[in-house]
Amino acid sequence: MTQSTKTELPQWPPVNSARSPFTPLDDAERQRYVGPVTRVLLPTGATAWLVSRHTDVRQLLRHPAFSSDLSRPGFPLLRPLPPEATRNSEGTFIQLDGDAHFRLRRMLTAEFMIKNVRRIEPLIAQTVDEALADLAAAGAPADLVSTFALPMPSKVICHLLGVPYADHDFFQSRSRVLLDRGTSPEEIQHTVGELRDYLRALIDRKRVRLDEADDLLIRLIRERVEPGELGVDELVGMALLLLIAGHETTANMIGLSVLLLTRHPEQYALLRDRPELAAGLVDELLRYLSIVRTGLLRVATEDVEIGGRLIRAGEGAIVLIALANRDAEVFDEPDGFDPYRQAHRHLAFGFGMHQCIGQPLARAELRIALVELARRFPDLRVTADPQELSTRDNSIVFGLDALPVTW
C-alpha cells in the first residue's frame, strides 16, 4: 500500500473527547468503522484490519491461526513497545499461543473455577462491606472510585494472590501507567521492571516460608515451582498479569455501572429489592459498557477469510468486542440498556482460548458490590453531569477517574 492511500484510512483508535461514557463510538465514527472487515491506520504507522461484527469476532478469536504473540512481525501494536518486550513478558500467558499458553493457563483454571469463587464469596462480601463502611465514614459527598470501586477488587485480588494490600499505591499507579496508550517504550520498560522486581522479591520471601500461609502464589510455588515445572520469572509474569487484570477491569466496571444505574433509578432499586436478578443485570452491564474498547489484538499466521475478507499471514487484526456487543444481528436495540434482555452472548470477556480466566470472580464481585451498594445507599446520586466526568479515553481499559456521589 502506498503512503498516499494509507493516509486516507481512518485512524484507530479514534480521538473524540466529546463521546458519552456509555458510547464506545459515536454515530459518525460507527459509519467509518462498523460493518464488514475494514482497514485502519494505527498510531505506529502500520495498518491493520478492524473486525467488529459479532459473528466475525467469534470466528476470529476462536481461530488457531490468529496469534496473540506481540513479538511477531505484523502484530498490530497501538503504541511502540520497548525492545526488551519479550523478556519483560515472560509468564504473561495472554501473549502466548497454543500449548505455551495452555501450559500456564491450566495452572490457574482450578483456582478461578466457579466453585472456588463461590467459596470465596464470603470474603468478597466482607470486603464489599468494609469498603462501604469506609464510604459511609467518608461522608457525602465522596468519590466512589477511590473509596469503593478501586479498593474493593484490589483488596480481593491481593488477598487471593497473597500480595500485601498496603502496597496498593505502588501497584495501582504502575498499572495505570502500563495501561495508558501514551506511555513511552522507555517508561513501559521501567515500569514493568519495577513491578517485576517487586513481585520477584515478594515471591522470594514466600519461598522460604511456604508453610506459614496459604495463598495462590504460595500454592504455585509449592506445586509448580518447587517440582521444577514453572520458572520463577514465569510465576512473576503470571502474578503481574493477575494483579493488574484483577483490579483495573472490575474497578472500572463498578464506576461506570454506578454512573449508569443512578441514571436508571428503577434498575438501581431493583438490585436492592430483587437481588436474584443481579446476575442478569451484570451481564447486560458487561455488554453495554464493554470497557476494553480499543480492541483485542491479533496477527494472522496463515491466510484466513473473515467476514468475506482475506486476512493474510502477517497482517494484524483488531477485534472490537465493544462493537460486537452492540451488533443488532445479535442484540435487539443494542444501544439501549435493558437489564431484562438475555445478554449472555456478549463478548466482554473475549472469546476463544484466551477468554478471561477471572470471569467467575469478576461476575461475583460486580454482583455483590452492586447489590450491597444499592442496599446500603438506596438514595445514592451522582453530583456531576456525565459529560463533565474525567474518563480514561487513553487507557486500554476504559473507565472513570473519579465519580462524585452523595446520598
Binding site: 478469536l61 476462536r62 490457574l108 483454571t109 482450578a110 466457579i114 473475549g350 482460548m353 480466566i357 467467575p360
Partner: protein, 75 residues
C-alpha cells in the same frame, strides 16, 4: 409415551466434551449445571450426565454456543 409435541421429553441426548480443548471458562457450568461441572484437580470440564433428558436441549445449545473453546458436542 403420548405422541405430540412433547413426545421427545422422555428421550435423552448425547453430550460429549473434549477436555484437551477446554480452557476452563466455566460457561457450560453456568448454562447447564445439571450436566457440566469443573474438575477439582484442574478446573476443566467434567460431564455429570452424558445422556441428559431432551428437555435440556435449549440450555445445552446455549452451552455449546457459549463455550469459547468449541469443546462441547450435543447429539
Amino acid at each position: 409415551m403420548t405422541p405430540g409435541p412433547r413426545a421427545d421429553e422422555g428421550t435423552t441426548l448425547r453430550v460429549a466434551v473434549d477436555r484437551a480443548r477446554c480452557c476452563g471458562s466455566g460457561n457450560c457450568v453456568l448454562a447447564v449445571p445439571e450436566v457440566f461441572e469443573q474438575d477439582d484437580a484442574d478446573g476443566l470440564v467434567l460431564l455429570r450426565d452424558p445422556a441428559p433428558r431432551a428437555a435440556l436441549r435449549e440450555r445445552l445449545d446455549r452451552a455449546v454456543d457459549l463455550c469459547p473453546a468449541g469443546a462441547i458436542r450435543v447429539g
